[in-house]
Structure formats: C-alpha cells, structure tokens
C-alpha cells in the first residue's frame, strides 16, 4: 500500500492557500461588523465562526482543484507535474523514503 508524502514546497503552497482563506474570512467578518454596526469586539468573539469559514473556503478550494484536475484527466490533458512521482512511496521504500527524498 502506498504512503503519501508531501514535500515542503507543497506544504508551503497549501499553507499560503490556507492563509489566504483565513484572510478572506477575516475580511468578511470585518465587512459584516461594519455593515451590521456590530461591536469591534466581534473581531475576537467571532473567531470560531471565522475559523469555520476558513476551513469551508479551503475545502472549497481543494474541491475546485480536484474538479479541474479530474476534468483535465478526462479530456486527456493530464497536467504536467514532474515531481508527482515523489508523492507516492511504496511500502518497501518506506524505511528509505527520507533518504530517497534527499537523494534527489
């Protein structure tokens, strides 16, 4: 059974995506506070709603990318990713995965 491995470049990219989602959620909260004349303290007291919204936005972003990826695969234009083989490590390679990664 294969294991998935995310290289640091991908982690950084996903972190930035998550941060962008968080900033959008905070922005929406700021807009709502101004629009509804709510107290500024809701910047903090509504943080759980903002985090939930961040998670939803991020999930939507993942879903969107999967859909695009799936669509491209369907029409035979698999996106080029010269590093994609790095994401899958087979069981027999597990013990050497770290070394293998750095060998590149």
């Amino acid at each position: 059974m294969p294991y998935f491995y995310l290289p640091s470049r991908r982690i950084r990219k996903e972190s930035i995506s998550l941060l962008v989602c968080f900033v959008i959620a905070v922005g929406l909260n700021v807009y709502a506070i101004i629009h509804y004349g709510a107290p500024l303290s809701e910047l903090w007291t509504s943080i759980l709603y903002v985090l939930e919204a961040t998670a939803v936005l991020y999930a939507v972003w993942i879903l969107l990318r999967l859909l695009i990826y799936g669509f491209l695969c369907l029409i035979g234009k698999q996106p080029k990713n010269k590093h994609r083989h790095q994401y899958i490590i087979h069981r027999h390679q597990r013990g050497h995965s770290h070394h293998s990664h750095h060998s590149h």
Partner: protein, 416 residues
C-alpha cells in the same frame, strides 16, 4: 418623582398640599345611591376621620340596609332631595344610574353642595356640558369618579410618558373584556330595570359609559390632546337575553396629528382582561397591569458574521416564500417588563380619590383640571357611543369644547 413634574402631569394632587392644615376639619357628606359601587366608595369615606357620612338616600331599601352597616349613625331617605335640603351637609356623593346623574347633580349644585359624581357624568353630551357650566357658575367643588387620576401607577407612568421615556406614543389600545352577563340578581321582576339599569337604553349607554369612560381618559391624558374624529361599531352578539345595550363595541379615536386610540370591549371573553396599552416607539406601558416594557428587550442579536451568512442564505434560497419551519412569526415577545411602582399594584386610586374629595370639601378649593378631565372623559365615551349608533365617523363637536389648556381646547363662546 419631583414635585414639579407631578404638578405638570397630575396637578390635581395639589389637593393634598394643605392636608395638615385640615387635620382638625370635619366635613359632612350625604350619600346618594349606596348600591354596590356606592358602598365601595362609602367604605373609604366611612374610614376617613375628616369626613362624616350623615345621610343616605336610595329608593331601594336593601341598599340602604347594607350601607347602614358601614355608617350606622346616618339618616336614611328615599328621596335624595331631602339630603339637599339639609343645610348642615357640605357635599354629596352621587353613585346612581347614569340617567339620574344630571338632575341630581344639578339639584345639588343649586343647593350649594359640593359634588362627587360617578362617571359617566350624564346621559347626553348637552347635559354633561350643562353640568360643567353649573359647576363653574356655582363655584361648588366638582369631582368625577375617574379614580385613575389618583392611582399611583397611572401618575407615575404619565410622568414617564410625558418625559419621553417610551418615545413617541403613536397609538393607544384600550380594552376591557369580561366573560359574564353583567346582570345583578333581581328579587322581583318589577325591579329588573332598576337593578339591571346598565342593560337598558333608557338608563345607560352600556359598555361605553360604564367602562370606556375610565380608559379613554387615560389615552387623552397620555397624548395631551383630544381626538378630532371617532368611528365605531357595536352589536349584541352573545348575550341575547333581552338587554338593549351592546355587549360588543369597537371604536377608533383619531387625533389631529394622525395618532390613534382604539377602544374595544367584549363581555363574552375575558382572556385579555382590561388594559390601556400606551405604544411608544421606545417602549410600551400597561398601567393596569402596572408594568412597562422597552422595545430593545430580548436576546442579543446574532454576531454580524452569522447575520451576514443568514442574509446570504436568504438571498440564495429565498426567505419565507411559504410558511415553512424556518418562518419566524412576529408574535409578542415574552418580555417580563418592569413594575411601574417597583412592585405589583395593590390599589386602584379610589381611596385617594375619595380622600381628595374630602380634602377639597374641607378647604373649599377646587383642584385644578379634575373636573375638566372628568368632563372630557364623559364626552369621549358619549361621542363614541353616538358614532356607533349612527354608524358613521363623527367629529368631536366644537360646541362641546370647553376652555382647557392641556388639550388646547376652547369653546366657541368661551367658558367662564
């Protein structure tokens, strides 16, 4: 409550300003009509050390017998004029059927007696005006049975209303609901119309003169003006037992600035009881219940973020397109409110009203505005009744206006 504020809102309370000066005074009162309501008034007078009820008059002996239990020393008469002939009597209390008020009160004024007259003051608007004029001509004290004028709940709440605590009072909803036939037990059939006088046109105008009279005065007291127009309907819808007066009345009183006062009385359902609801844009007062309520009461609004999401949801899916499970009906909020006096009411002002009458008789000074408030209370219920009978909107008659600065009214020919 400040004295100045009280003087502005309820100036008749100045009656009590010289209460210590009259500590050793004692006035002599004759009582005309000690029936059920009469004996309620008599119970307060009998306990008042400044008052001696020396005579009773009634055509119905059982009422006299019951009244004598309260004032055993009083003389009894079948004819009220015998009381008026007694020069030692300072004033009279009249609590008789409506159709007898006018003649008895006019005779009392003519005899130089101070008068406490139960509401409504008279059977017609013209009689009411004539009574008021005779009071002014003779200089005799004239009190009317509007006990809310002396009820601490109402005094306090009017002070709040006039200070703007409840914002603009744009509407008054007054109602008095009971579930009963309004009949008294009659020992003999020939006494039916005498004992159940409230049910017959010859002696009463029913719910408007017996109940509305109290509550319409609350509305004008709060709004500080008289209505310009009245419309209404009435019918006998439930108690079809030979009565002649309506058991179901609804009226709308319209004011010059567009504000409205509604009055409703139904005596086949008591669920909502009686109340005068003063509806301001900041709050509501229910003086009968003894409470007030502010509009901003209720759970805190949802966080702005949630409100925004709900608004988006409404825009996407549509809001309340049909009354589904998410529909939020605007039923009354379960707002416990606050007590006007800090506690539940325990009296209705009748005690203070009778005390004030005794004080006024002792001092010989007519308290400001009390006769005028009673005068307009009666005129309002009579014009409402007339609108019901005629089945069309009626203006408040100019000819029935008296000089009364609080309501900005002035008669065409002026009053003395």
């Amino acid at each position: 409550m400040g004295t100045g504020a009280l003087a502005a809102t309820s100036p008749w309370l100045s009656t009590f300003a010289s209460v210590e000066d009259t500590a050793h005074e004692r006035c002599r009162i004759g009582f005309i009509g000690p029936g059920s309501r009469g004996r309620f008034l008599l119970s307060f007078l009998a306990q008042n050390p400044k008052c001696e009820v020396v005579a009773l008059a009634d055509i119905y002996q059982p009422s006299l017998d019951e009244a004598l239990k309260l004032v055993p020393e009083a003389k009894t008469y079948k004819d009220y004029r015998q009381i008026l002939e007694d020069k030692s009597i300072d004033g009279v209390v009249i609590a008789t059927p409506l159709n007898t008020h006018f003649q008895m009160a006019m005779d009392a004024f003519d005899a130089g007696k101070h008068v406490y007259l139960e509401k409504a003051l008279a059977y017609t608007m013209e009689e009411t005006l004539a009574l008021y004029r005779r009071h002014k001509e003779t200089g005799c004290i004239f009190f009317t049975g509007q006990q809310r004028l002396f009820d601490p709940r109402y005094i306090q709440v009017m002070e709040m209303v006039h200070q703007g605590v409840f914002g603009d009072i744009n509407a008054v909803h007054a109602y008095w609901n009971r579930n009963g036939d309004w009949r008294r037990e009659v020992p003999s059939p020939e006494l039916e119309r005498l004992i159940n006088w409230r049910l017959y046109k010859e002696s009463s105008k029913g719910l408007m003169t017996e109940l509305a009279c109290h509550q319409l005065q609350v509305g004008t007291w709060a709004l500080g003006q008289l209505p310009v127009r009245v419309m209404g309907t009435g019918a006998i819808t439930h108690w079809k037992d030979g009565r002649e007066v309506y058991d179901n009345v609804h009226c709308i009183y319209e004011f010059a600035d567009g504000r409205q006062m509604t009055y409703a009385s139904v005596i086949s359902n008591k669920f909502y009881g009686l109340e005068e609801q003063l509806l301001g844009h900041l709050g509501t007062a229910e003086p009968e219940r003894g409470k007030f309520y502010f509009e901003d009461y209720g759970p805190a609004p949802a966080p702005a973020f949630v409100q925004m999401l709900m608004e988006w949801e409404d825009k996407i899916w549509g809001a309340n397109t049909f009354a589904g499970s998410s529909w939020d009906p605007e039923v009354a909020r379960n707002n416990p409110g606050e007590w006007i006096l800090g506690k539940a009411p325990d009296s209705d002002g009748t005690s203070l009203l009778t005390e004030a009458f005794v004080e006024a008789v002792c001092t010989g000074k007519q308290p400001p505005r009390i006769a005028e408030e009673g005068y307009y209370a009666t005129q309002l219920c009579l014009v409402g009744h007339e609108a019901i009978v005629q089945g069309k909107p009626l203006p408040f008659p100019e000819a029935m206006k008296i000089d009364y600065e609080p309501y900005g009214t002035k008669s065409l020919k002026g009053e003395s």
